[in-house]
Symmetry: C2
């Protein structure tokens, strides 16, 4: 007899946490280390204690609660985050933590002790919306980011410092970080693939590498009526060619390569003036690090050629570079098998966005479970996932945790 | 013996008027109907009176001074404007009016009476920087624009109304408009062609037609990491393709076709978000009205195809449509001949920008003389033309006026 999750109990917690920092019209604003984040943390700690977990807080404010196992040793950890972007949804992050609580609640209800301990964790500032970088808490916890440097980080609006805010909200703890026996994270896909393909569960194979570049093209401002084409140095035309080249490179590489030009600005930006300067960003992602690097190099070559041909100068600046992260193949297979055993359609897929899980991947078997996002929307107050899909994802999570932790009836 | 202009006298007036509304660091701000414009007008009227001209002001504030001829009848008119953009140079407009004064001064100095009267005119609000449309005074004077409608025009910043400002600065007159025997305008090129080709005088054959369109592309906002290329509706990529198409159409048509994308904006404009909306403007110009229309139609077809291919919707809105204006072929030839007679290199060329002259072209023989603009700069405090070129242009103007007005020793 396998324990079963309760969709009702899980959704109750989703909506309860969703009240904290709730925005008019839907969604939440629980920016990291704000009063709303503190209220969410206080609620979470109380929930953990109600479930009998023993709660720890570390120096960067990560919270985890441990349900003891029959044996001592590292726990199977279920984690995510409860901070949000300024106009976030109810599910991004929160679902991962609350499904962890539901796993514990289901084990409790079944009166089931596991061999290994089970931990539920919420990591500080995953979003990076108020303090950069993102995945700050999990990064510190797993040794990728420096604690002191992170504590000294000032908010992007200059208003506050991480360490001071942790003190202010009472979440600067002293527990030592732990490396779990395995790490699992249930998350909304934040993309359209599962919904479009009608698939219930994503077995996430890893996180795409990220290659962000800002290009600044400088030409010469001129009167749009009086300057013949041959005498122009049009920065905007170079930028348009870079944008088209990014799209073409993605098409030629094929999936999972993506390329996005999200920022495109002209200066002076007047109808009848040839632009002197253009600034654009190109966001390239791929699960294959070598292919990603090659795409970035090819884009740069094409950008330089376009600038040269137009008599413009080109500057480029890396805004972000993250190598792809691969999850544990055995664990990905276990997620797939668990979904199939529940008659849930399942698909292996990469994550296009970053997640706390990627910080654990180098140190312990790690994987993620995705469920469909309505219209692929996320970081949006209209973010939505269906209750059936949430329950299915939580059940797969529970089943895999039982396998990993070694269930005892 | 032909009369000669005095470069020193002309430059003296250029710098004197340049003191009125002078900006720190150079250039002037004499926005139409402001106190600075009034001060410029007062100075101009005094100069006209000193030169013995009989001054008239019409209902839209145009100022002209007439030097009588041996015969009555319509004058040969030399005109331009003394209003400027907010950060204008010393030469745009002012040079045309002041070279007219210099023509009169040279005729006076030579004790020469012409057969026809000679008029020097400054038209209200040529720039259109404070009140739209531009070429307002000459447009009303020549019957293209409605007087009452123009008097009721509110400033683009909402702060004032043309008629009230004319009253306030004391320049709402009552003189009847006149149709001259011929109209001449000396102007800085505001483009780089003469300087680049090392030519002293442009014999302006007409004004290019203008075809401005604003395109708004609407797609779907999506996460840049989690949305496969095939599932995107990227408004920015459509906009980039429209920009490239505009450039290609200009290249394929060849000179004098020009195409400029001066505005290009993405929304929401974030590095990692597929743009939902893009707005761009395309400024097409050509001296051939049919070719210009065809270029506009082809651009629209390509824009629609690009939007369709990307699953985006396209809206388009005409921002400006002006048919090309052709100047008087005989008069253009006279300017060319006058330049050659003075051993000045000369080239027939269209004007890429609009000028008061185009309002006169349908009603009387009209042409313009261009002189080189350093680096093609205009509407810029660094606008500059060399004294030698200014003197050469004014001399050609004087020589042509003598021919047209019928000189008497």
């Amino acid at each position: 007899m396998r324990p079963e999750i309760s969709a009702k109990r899980l959704m109750g917690r989703v909506f309860e946490l969703g009240e904290i920092g709730a925005l008019e019209g839907g969604g939440v604003c629980r920016l990291a280390l704000t009063d709303a984040d503190r209220a969410g943390r206080d609620w979470l700690v109380a929930q953990m204690q109600d479930l009998g977990l023993s709660v720890s807080i570390d120096a960067i404010g990560n919270i985890w609660g441990i349900r003891p196992g029959a044996q001592d040793g590292p726990p199977v950890m279920i984690g995510s985050h409860i901070d949000s972007v300024a106009t976030g949804g109810l599910y991004d992050g929160a679902l991962g933590v609350l499904s962890g609580l539901e796993v514990v609640a289901a084990l409790n209800a079944a009166g089931m002790k596991t061999q290994r301990p089970v931990a539920v964790a919420a990591f500080t500032n995953e979003e990076g919306a108020r303090f950069a970088p993102d995945m700050m808490g999990s990064g510190v916890h797993q040794g990728t980011l420096d604690l002191d440097e992170m504590l000294a980080t000032r908010a992007t609006d200059g208003s506050a410092v991480v360490g001071e805010e942790l003190d202010r909200i009472g979440y600067r703890g002293s527990a030592a970080p732990i490396t779990p026996a395995a790490y699992l994270e249930l998350h909304v896909e934040q993309g359209p693939v599962l919904e479009q393909e009608g698939i219930r569960i994503g077995a996430v194979t890893g996180v795409q590498g990220i290659h962000w570049t800002e290009f600044t093209v400088t030409g010469q401002t001129n009167h749009a009526g009086t300057t013949p084409m041959a005498l122009r140095r049009d920065a905007g035309q170079v930028a348009a060619r870079i944008a088209v080249a990014a799209d073409r490179i993605a098409a030629e590489n094929g999936p999972p390569q993506v390329a996005t030009v999200g920022v495109f600005e002209l200066s002076p930006g007047l109808v009848n003036v040839v632009p002197e300067q253009a600034r654009l960003t190109v966001d390239l992602r791929n699960t294959d690090g070598a292919v990603l690097e090659a795409a970035g190099e090819r884009l740069l070559e094409e950008a330089e050629a376009a600038a040269r041909a137009a008599g413009c100068t080109l500057r480029h600046r890396p805004l972000a570079r993250f190598a792809p992260v691969g999850f544990d193949a055995g664990l990905v297979g276990q997620i797939e098998a668990a979904a199939r055993a529940r008659q849930l359609s399942v698909k292996r897929m990469p994550s296009g966005a970053g997640h706390d899980a990627q910080m654990f991947a180098p140190n312990c078997p790690t994987a993620m479970i995705f469920i469909p996002s309505a219209k692929g929307l996320s970081h949006n107050i209209n973010e939505h996932s269906e209750e059936d899909d949430i329950a299915a994802g939580a059940q797969v999570l529970l089943d895999v945790v039982c396998d990993l932790a070694g269930g005892l009836a």
